[in-house]
Amino acid sequence: MQPDLPPLLRFDNLTLGYERHPAIHHLSAAIPAGALVAVIGPNGAGKSTLLKGVAGELRPIGGHIHLPEFGRKGIAYMPQRSEMDHSFPVSVFDMVAMGLWHELGPFSGLSRAQRDRVGHALEAVSLAGFERRPIGSLSGGQLQRARFARLILQDAPVILLDEPFAAIDTRTVDDLMHLMLHWHGEGRTILTVVHDYNQVRQHFPTSLLLARELVAFGPTAAVLTDAHLARARHLSEAFDDNAPECHVEEAA
């Protein structure tokens, strides 16, 4: 973490949750611009919840999320795969081209240049030639590549990825990881939820270890220690229905 870069994203005593039960409890951290951060932790640690909060899908029930100046417009979010309707009759090209929404708006057609960019994005994820195919005909790995192509076109300075490698073949994982590193090289700020610690050690310079509260944040080597991991495992996974009201915020 380079201390001279100003923090792009700041979590200030952040509590995010559902029905008053916190999934993330009093998280304070500052993400510098250009960081490539792996968000890790056991199941139920609040990783997806954190990304949802940054993307604006969930409102904090305590504390703040400080967004960069350009706000949500500059944030591209890729949730876990469940929400897209794969049987919908739309072609890969059209689906990926949606990434240009911020340029096109709801009405305008695609210019020649824009069509080319869509083509390039598809090439970048090795889906050239798939333009006309309906998205329902893609395999899991291919669909994930298409979503990445869409992300490319979104051209956002902040990118949030929730478990992008889940249930994907190794070759695709490698290719997409390559793409992420390329983005990192372009200076984008990336938060990714990852489960494979080997991958984290190999590629991600920064890690945020969550177990509903912040366990550790910083250079990966310093975060991924046995002590930290043990502590993370201990912290409870289930909601406690009888939990008393939390009074930590007054103290903090």
Binding site: E83, D85, P89
Partner: protein
């Protein structure tokens, strides 16, 4: 019987046949595309729900203005809009999905309607009065469905991109645009307008039938959305034309004949189309190289 007598004479000789054909065309252009989207959003049963949900609006119109079709239709539209908007709000704001919230509101609406009707003229089957028939299209009804059809075509063209996105990847739309509620509610509004004007002019069977059956048939063929829309509209209009001719030459009721023609198209598609039941089960020709 010459070809002229078979195909053209019924329309040349009788004004009500010409009007019926125009009505079918308007419905095919406006309501059927809406039906395609309903199908894709898994809301196909909404038509039937809506035919009950409009009762309190029609009842209030009746209470205020007597048996005035205009008042009852407008009342019906308002009631329909209230129900879909309420259901839409609940769907977006709670854990209940579209079908549950719609079911809840349409049932409440129906119950309220029955109560209202019983306040006066309790032996009047209001909806029977309100629902029209394709052979009885007066000027007002024709104007109504033509106008709604035009509004729909325009609305779908404007809303096309956000609507499509709203259908297949709503979280992405929410992330990139604030138009998500506009697309959602705008679409629901088009649904109500098409359904109620369809009921008014043509009755529930035809209004819903022409929305859903051609859409289901087209879905089995087309791989892209524009193709689906086109095929659906063609099937809808073709069924209208042939259904009217069948009703004319074979003396069967017109509305059901039209819907059954749509059904014929649907069954044919089930058998023959790539998305149908036989596809993949028949011995295939030699496969392609790649």
């Amino acid at each position: 019987m010459s070809l002229y007598e078979l195909l053209l004479a019924p329309f040349a000789d009788f004004g009500f046949m010409r009007r019926a054909l125009v009505g079918c065309l308007a419905l095919a252009l406006g309501a059927t595309p809406v039906g395609v989207f309903l199908l894709l959003r898994r809301m196909s049963l909404m038509g039937d729900a809506m035919s009950h949900a409009i009762l309190p609006g029609a009842a209030l119109g009746y209470l205020a203005f007597g048996l005035s079709l205009g008042a009852m239709t407008i009342g019906g539209i308002i009631a329909g809009l209230v129900v879909v908007f309420a259901a839409g709000i609940v769907t977006r704001a709670s854990i209940l999905k579209e079908d549950a919230s719609l079911a809840a509101f349409y049932l409440l609406s129906l119950a309220a309607g029955v109560m209202i009707v019983s306040l006066r003229g309790r032996n009047l089957d209001l909806l029977h009065v309100l629902f029209g028939s394709v052979l009885a299209l007066d000027d007002a009804s024709l104007i109504l469905i033509s106008a709604i059809s035009s509004v729909t075509v325009l609305g779908l063209a404007l809303l096309f991109r956000p609507l499509v996105l709203e259908c297949f990847d709503p979280s992405f739309l929410r992330a990139v645009s604030r138009l998500s509620p506009v697309a959602h509610y705008g679409f629901l509004m088009l649904v109500v307008l098409n359904l109620v004007s369809g009921f008014h002019a043509l009755g529930t069977l035809m209004a819903v039938g022409i929305m859903i059956l051609p859409s289901a048939a087209a879905r089995l063929w087309a791989r892209s959305l524009p193709a689906t829309l086109l095929v659906a509209v063609l099937i809808a209009f073709g069924s209208g034309l042939i259904g009217l001719l069948v009703s004319f030459h074979i003396d069967v009721p017109a509305g059901p004949a039209i819907v059954l023609m749509c059904g014929v198209a649907y069954f044919a598609s089930l058998l023959a189309a790539p998305g149908g039941v036989l596809a993949g089960r028949l011995p295939v020709r030699r496969h392609l190289e790649s």
